[in-house]
């Protein structure tokens, strides 16, 4: 019975795959709505010269705004799942005495400053070439994970006020700028930057986003890694 069901699932999935491929191949090639041309026509008013950044932070800025909220919600979900019991943090550098960890330690110490530099460059490059807040935040988060894995940065337990402020800073900056623009430049319209100052505003939003995306993504790892499972202690 069970294996019959499995075969049925596989057959239906194969049929679904064939239908999907058929739809992709049949789709009309010159699309009726050419969004890329629309973007290229309006890019002069967006304040940046790279089309993906223009779409992310100007034309569909509210998408990005909601995305940051989704990330914060996911982090809150992770925090809500953490065990309540307080545990002693392993001290920073607890691997330092082990000779076999020296390579990892050395690598982390050399790589992390470079990663911060790369994150800053990606943030700045986003205006005119591939890059931007998401890539920069991901690099920052990877630096945090590397520090944690090499034992230089302890896992996070309860976020203190400064960590909480960092986690929401991107969203707050975004909301403040959205509110300021709505009240002054374009009343009643969400995130309609005036073309003259759009570039500066986008860079400001991206800087806040880089910091808090880095902290949120690192937090998704560092909060989970600090909450070791010991179900014996639960019982």
């Amino acid at each position: 019975m069970r294996s019959l069901l499995n075969v049925l699932v596989i057959v239906l999935s194969a049929a679904l795959g064939l239908v999907l491929i058929g739809v992709i191949l049949e789709s009309p090639s010159p699309a009726r709505v050419r969004l890329s041309e629309e973007v290229l026509m309006q890019i002069g008013a967006s304040g940046v010269t790279h089309p993906v950044t223009a779409v992310l932070l100007n034309f569909r800025g509210y998408d990005t705004l909601l995305e940051v909220m989704v990330l914060l919600l996911a982090l809150l979900g992770v925090l809500a799942q953490m065990g309540k019991q307080k545990r002693e943090n392993p001290p920073a550098g607890f691997y330092l005495t082990e000779p076999r960890m020296q390579v990892l330690l050395w690598l982390a110490r050399v790589l992390v400053p470079l990663m911060v530099l790369v994150a800053g460059y990606l943030l700045w490059a986003g205006g005119h070439q591939p890059g931007g807040a998401f890539q920069a935040g991901a690099v920052l988060a990877a630096a945090g994970v590397l520090l944690n894995l090499s034992g230089l940065l302890p896992s996070w337990m309860e976020p203190a006020w400064n960590l909480r402020a960092g986690l929401v800073s991107g969203l707050l900056v975004f909301l403040l700028i959205a509110a300021a623009v709505m009240m002054t430049a374009s009343p009643g319209l969400l995130l309609q930057y005036p073309p003259a100052s759009a570039g500066m505003l986008i860079l400001l939003v991206e800087t806040g986003l880089t910091l808090s995306l880095g902290l949120i993504l690192a937090g998704l790892f560092l909060f989970l890694s600090g909450d070791a499972i010991d179900d014996e202690a639960d019982k």
Binding site: L16, L20, I21, L25, P51, V55, A74, Q81, L217, L224
Partner: protein
């Protein structure tokens, strides 16, 4: 068939692999992996279809960029939930219908 359409078709195949894995695999970590493969398939379809005219369309690319970050966050949340389930029931599987989660709570 242009190169972009090959990417889109590969994305459809990945999506179907993911769906099949999500249904058939009982281990929850494998379900999460299958879910991620499904998501990657969708991203590949979006990016592939977005550049079938030869020039990449920035709108689906921006959507995929958003989607990747959200997928990472959703995966972390799913992993946190699986760990909670593990510490509650000692298993990384959904409980059978006869032994619902509610009973696990009561047994605590």
């Amino acid at each position: 068939m242009s190169g972009a359409l090959i990417y889109a078709c590969a994305g459809a195949v990945l999506f179907v692999f993911g769906v099949t894995g999500l249904i058939l695999l009982p281990h929850l970590l494998r379900k999460i992996l299958a879910f991620n493969i499904m998501g990657s398939g969708v991203f590949l379809v979006l990016v592939g279809l977005g550049q079938r005219d030869g020039t990449p369309d920035p709108v689906p690319q921006a959507m995929v960029l958003t989607g990747i970050v959200v997928a990472v966050a959703a995966t972390a949340l799913a992993l946190a939930l699986v760990r909670r389930l593990l510490s509650l029931t000692g298993k990384i599987q959904f409980p059978e219908e006869s032994e619902g989660l509610g009973r696990c709570w009561k047994n605590k």
